[in-house]
């Protein structure tokens, strides 16, 4: 059979193969719309440790003497981790309200927060508040961390170290109130993220410059 005749005989197979391959290429990158993409989004995203609320007591010398030398911790603290009331409103209308706790059964793991809210494009008044729910009696008492007596023996300087550690943890934890009250301009499809700035211990806004989609 000559080449043109062979090609003619094979034409249907070649045509079907070409169509199948084109179909494969199209289905490999089919433009599938995403529902809700025309609106903008306000995203709340943060991870930080909840504050530890403790009631501390200084052990007496007699009490310390009853303990093994390596266990002589001058200050004994009991406590729990704080929970927070989260409120989000856009243009004065509440869009979200919930109680946020640390992860884990004892709520002692960091708080992981990731919430998306659909927002109509335009300039919107956004209010986010993250408020600790527990009340602490002497929280503004600066002398709280200075009530440890001198240590001796193996516990030399331990109380001081504990004090420093406690202060470090308090600084790393979420403050008792985080609040953001601002006007944000949303474009269609834009995502504006509200997150925690760990340096300033305050909520901050992250947004990409409006780009072509």
């Amino acid at each position: 059979m000559t080449t043109p005749a062979l090609l003619l005989r094979r034409a249907p197979a070649i045509a079907v193969t070409a169509i199948a391959l084109a179909g494969l290429a199209w289905l490999s990158a089919a433009p599938v719309p995403l529902s809700g993409a025309e609106s903008a989004r306000l995203r709340l995203s943060l991870s930080a440790r909840p504050e530890r609320i403790e009631t501390c007591r200084v052990l007496s010398s007699d009490e310390l003497a009853k303990l093994g030398e390596h266990m002589r911790q001058r200050v004994e603290c009991e406590g729990k981790f704080a929970s927070y009331q989260l409120r989000v409103s856009v243009d004065g209308s509440p869009v979200h309200e919930s109680v946020v706790r640390g992860a884990g059964l004892r709520s002692d793991r960091p708080i992981y927060l990731l919430e998306d809210f659909s927002v109509n494009p335009g300039t919107r008044a956004v209010h986010v508040s993250f408020r600790r729910r527990e009340h602490v009696e002497d929280e503004d008492d600066d002398s709280r961390g200075q009530r440890f007596g001198a240590d001796t023996g193996l516990s030399m300087g331990r109380a001081e170290r504990e004090d420093v550690e406690r202060a470090r943890r308090a600084r790393a934890a979420i403050p008792r109130l985080l609040e953001l009250d601002t006007a944000l301009t949303f474009t269609s499809g834009q995502v504006i993220v509200v997150t925690l700035d760990p340096e300033n211990r305050a909520l901050q806004v992250l947004a990409a410059a409006p780009a072509s989609r």
């Binding site: 290429a25 490999s28 992860a103």
Partner: protein, 517 residues
């Protein structure tokens, strides 16, 4: 479930017939779906090894964009990688549907069904990780939804979704783990593939060379003409109204995005359980035509032929419990699929499924011989899986049709008896070689009739009166042409002379263990 099997079978027959018409029986890709999937896996490994040299976990989107922008090798290599993964999924899905439609999903094939499902699932997951590697808008969308689903499980202390929140760059560690999974999953697939074929003898893993290279060539041409699209780079602070999405690996994504994680997981688990239950839902009673082969130890000569021919490694030779100096065949009913190929391999006709041993075939034939002597038709021995239209076409042209469960089950003595009894000719019509439900029926038939494989057609039989043909759906004209050519060939021969009271050798010499060694 039987209704579903029938419906899928009907659909595949149409596709099968169309492909046979377009590409011919030997090139029909539907018959090669499983091997095409393996071939694509090899292409994926080859192209993937090249691509990984240029991939950077520290700048995934940029490195993939650089590869895609390379007009000489990178662009089409990446596209070939993508299109091969698409074809892998299509071929594996077609293969699975064929096995389901042909009731090859239960009993001894259960392990192959489950491992095949696992291979398809692993292939899809591997494809997801590949799309995430590119870190374009589609990869991000996949990663985001995958993370959302994983976060519903108590696995990670910090929710994965926060990685993609946009308040910090996605860490390189994420892309490293993703790359690790993308390379590790194919390695696991190699092991699963070994399990998949471990219960069959002489597994065929690749399509014929010409078909393999044709498919690779076609995909390469496609890769050059229509390179796989790379979406815009991922941006967590932007929601795009539409994404170029791969619907082979991520057809579920538009649905999943609308479901809660619990509903999405529930649907996936329900689908997985349903698919894994197919062997239970489609199983049949192992009786009648599905009863396992049995061995008559009095007839077994210990020749070791049936274990060699069995496509399922269901027969072993064991020591006898009498004083004969030979081994004896033993069938493992748990591995036997009742294909009957062992019956065609046994010269003394001592093994086979009940009612389908060589002796059973001869006994039923002798009842028909009286009629055949009067009419002297050409006898067409047809596989019971043959399309009805083809069998009817042979009948219309005067052939006496005699069904057989598989041409590999046919004992050569049946052909011998027919020819020696005076039938003008015997045409044995089997399925296309790669579409045989018994895997190796047409192969062994040819060997036994024309190449002296045990149980061979005896020398005294006139080979000019014997022919083998293929009945392929969609190739009715081929079947008719083969039959008519055989009929013309027979008419040019002398008139057949039947022997009175044909005797067939039913006893063979035993094969002692020493002689075999």
């Amino acid at each position: 479930m039987r209704h579903a099997e029938r419906a899928v079978r009907r659909g595949l027959r149409v596709l099968d017939a169309l492909c046979a018409r377009l590409y011919g029986v030997a090139w029909n890709p539907i018959h090669q779906s499983g091997t095409v999937a393996v071939a694509m896996l090899l292409v994926l490994i080859g192209t993937g090894l090249y691509l990984v040299l240029f991939y950077r976990v520290g700048s995934p989107a940029e490195s993939v964009a650089r590869i895609a922008a390379d007009p000489y090798l990178g662009s089409w290599m990446r596209s070939l990688h993508r299109y091969s993964s698409d074809l892998f999924i299509v071929a594996a899905a077609v293969h699975m549907l064929r096995m389901f439609a042909q009731s090859r999903s239960w009993g001894p094939r259960t392990m192959a069904w489950i491992s095949g499902l696992t291979l398809l699932g692993a292939g899809i997951v591997c494809a997801w990780t590949g799309f995430v590697m590119a870190w374009d808008s589609f990869g991000e969308r996949l990663a985001r939804d995958g993370a959302r689903l994983l976060d519903a499980l108590p696995i990670f202390s910090e929710p994965l979704s926060r990685i993609f929140a946009g308040d910090r760059p996605v860490p390189s560690a994420f892309f490293f783990v993703n790359l690790f999974a993308h390379i590790g999953i194919p390695l696991a697939m190699g092991v699963i593939l070994w399990v998949h074929v471990s219960k069959v003898a002489r597994p065929v893993l690749l399509p014929p060379k010409r078909l393999t290279w044709s498919i690779i060539g076609a995909l390469t041409v496609l890769s050059i003409i229509l390179p796989a699209e790379l979406g815009p780079p991922a941006n967590a602070l932007l929601v795009r109204p539409s994404t170029p999405m791969n619907l082979f690996a991520a057809w579920w994504l538009p649905v999943s995005e609308r479901l809660s994680p619990a509903t999405a997981w529930g649907s996936m688990i329900a689908a997985a359980i349903l698919l894994a239950s197919v062997p239970l839902l489609t199983r049949r009673r192992r009786e009648g035509p599905l009863a396992a082969s049995v061995v008559d130890p009095r007839l077994c000569t210990g020749c070791n032929q049936c274990p060699q021919d069995c496509p399922w490694e269901a027969i072993t030779m064991v020591e006898r419990d009498d004083d004969r100096p030979t081994l004896v065949a033993l069938v493992d009913p748990a591995r036997c699929v009742s294909c009957g190929i062992c019956a065609g391999s046994c010269a003394p006709m001592g093994v086979g499924p009940p009612g389908r041993t060589g002796r059973d075939q001869l006994a039923s034939l002798r009842e028909e011989l009286v009629t055949l002597r009067e009419t002297q038709p050409v006898v067409a021995i047809c596989c019971s899986q043959a399309p009805v239209s083809h069998v009817d076409a042979l009948r219309v042209r005067g052939a006496h049709v005699r069904p057989v469960s598989c041409v590999g089950n046919l004992h050569s003595s049946v052909v011998e008896l027919l020819i020696r009894d005076g039938v003008p000719g015997v045409i044995v019509c089997g399925c296309p070689p790669r579409d045989c439900l018994s895997r190796e029926g047409p192969k062994w038939l040819n060997e036994r009739l024309f190449n002296e494989r045990e149980a061979e057609l005896r020398e005294r039989v006139d080979r000019r009166r014997v022919r083998v043909a293929t009945l392929a759906p969609g190739d009715l004209s081929g079947t008719v042409a083969a039959y008519e050519a055989f009929a013309r060939h027979l008419s040019a021969l002398d008139a057949p002379v039947g022997e009175p009271a044909v005797e067939i050798d039913l006893i063979c010499d035993p094969v002692p263990i020493e002689a075999d060694a």
